[in-house]
């Protein structure tokens, strides 16, 4: 069932974007495994099943409000519930993960949006799911990812004067300033 959902999502998203953005990794062969890095990236898997649930990986340029709207409004997908927004700092890039759920169809989707680490920026989905409001603010606060289109993007947990973004991997905890030293 999940595989079907995944296929459905792939076709829908590719349709909406008008290009083959999502590709399922073909069965791995030894040759490819030993192939060069550049080659590998070309066929990098952008749609898969993760613990039995569909997961799609997109670049931040591809991820747009229209796509989010499509995911929510398409009668076959109908992802009306945004469960969780996670920001992750991988050393080479940053990611924002959206966990979507459909209360009607009872299916799930992970949307991973990759964004460059130097200028992390992912389109805000608050107009589509208001639930993203605080969660995006939190990610902005702790990871420093910009969300253009967010109506009120400012620090939420840390005070406004805080410097840096603690959840980044290269953040250095100033123990003295925190009174820990």
């Amino acid at each position: 069932m999940s595989q079907e959902t995944l296929d459905l999502i792939i076709s829908k998203v590719n349709n909406a974007l008008d290009e083959e953005v999502l590709v399922v990794k073909p069965p791995e062969t030894d040759e490819e495994a030993e192939g060069e890095k550049e080659e590998k990236e070309e066929i990098e898997e952008t749609a898969k099943l993760n613990f039995g649930k569909p997961m799609i990986i997109l670049d931040s340029e591809k991820w747009s409000m229209d796509l989010a709207k499509m995911l929510r409004d398409d009668p076959q997908l109908h992802f009306d519930f945004l469960q969780c927004v996670t920001g992750v700092d991988y050393d080479e890039h940053m990611e924002v993960v959206y966990n979507l759920y459909s209360t009607e169809k009872k299916h799930y989707l992970y949307v991973k949006v990759k964004t460059p680490r130097e200028t992390p920026s992912v389109v805000s989905v608050t107009p589509v799911w208001r639930a993203a409001d605080y969660m995006e603010r939190e990610i902005f606060d702790l990871l420093g990812i910009e969300f253009p289109g967010h109506w009120n993007l400012k620090r939420i947990l840390l005070q406004d004067e805080w410097e840096g973004h603690p959840l980044r991997k290269d953040y250095i905890t100033d123990k003295k300033a925190l009174g820990l030293d």
Partner: protein, 369 residues
Amino acid sequence: MAIKTETMTLNMGPQHPSTHGVFRLVVDVDGETIKRVEPVMGYLHRGSEKLAERFVYTQFIPYTDRLDYMNAMTNNYVYCAAVEKLLEWEIPERAEYLRVITMELNRIASHLVWWGTYLLDIGALSPFLYAFRDRDHCLDLLNEISGARMTFNYMRIGGVKWDSPDGWIDRVKEKVKVLRENINEYDTLVTGNEIFQSRTIGVGKLTKEQILDWGISGPLARASGLKMDIRKDEPYSIYDRFDFDIPTQEEGDVYARYKVRIAELYESLKIIEQACEQIPEGDIITKKGKRIMMIKPPAGEAYTRAEASKGEIGVYAISNGKNKPYRIKLRRPSFVNVAILQELLIGKNIQDLVAIFGSLDIVLGEVDA
């Protein structure tokens, strides 16, 4: 001619009796009508997610206790379950039953605290003490099994820390009877009270669309007619073995939330009773789970969720194959639910603010993480 009136900005909190912790609401009021609300939080921010990256997997369990300290068992559970999912471990039967019993007992305790403090918020003094009496029944039981009354640190990756002491299951059964009787009494005393109803019926209505839009879960969603309960939708642990209902209400007002929570108390009691009947003998933790430093989930990521008393609590765990998590994201229900305040409170008056805010049942430890 309109009389020129002054709006004033009211800083409710961070020290205010009914913000239930260090939470601040910047409210612009015209007379008593609210024109603008801005929730301000973070006073209790401990950087839990950052801390998670510094510890071995097991070491983070006590930190989850401090999120929603009213309902720490579920937090424990969902974190352990997330790691177990990455590890793809099987959990011993008895451990699962103990997990369910403790989680449900904790849910009852949490709902009772809500019941008491909520009525305190709307001006009834006595229910608070009665609620705490019954909450203590639950906490005593949890204390016996875990050694702590609020921050249990009871679950382990692969099972639970302690087996139940002698006769514990029987004592649970006894207390369930007592609790059911008492809750029934409170139900008859308060639910029909006319003043209470006038304070709550039709106040703070949330529509289904708003619930979905704002990603609200738990009793709040169920009070608006959405039959959403992770225990049924995506049964985790062994919830599929029990016979219980998901209470829902259609109205979506404060009173509906109240009724949903009261009904959930009964359902939790039902689950505990069944679990106590069915609980098998056996191990309480997998062999591998005992070697704490050796827990190294394979690289991967997964979102795991569970139904806490406040709503959907989720953990997005990312492992890179080492013995420390690469990233732990905590989806805290209170944090998500509280966002609705800025929309919900506009046009209401101060008195309703308290009634509505209380009905959301947020815990600041969880909001601020």
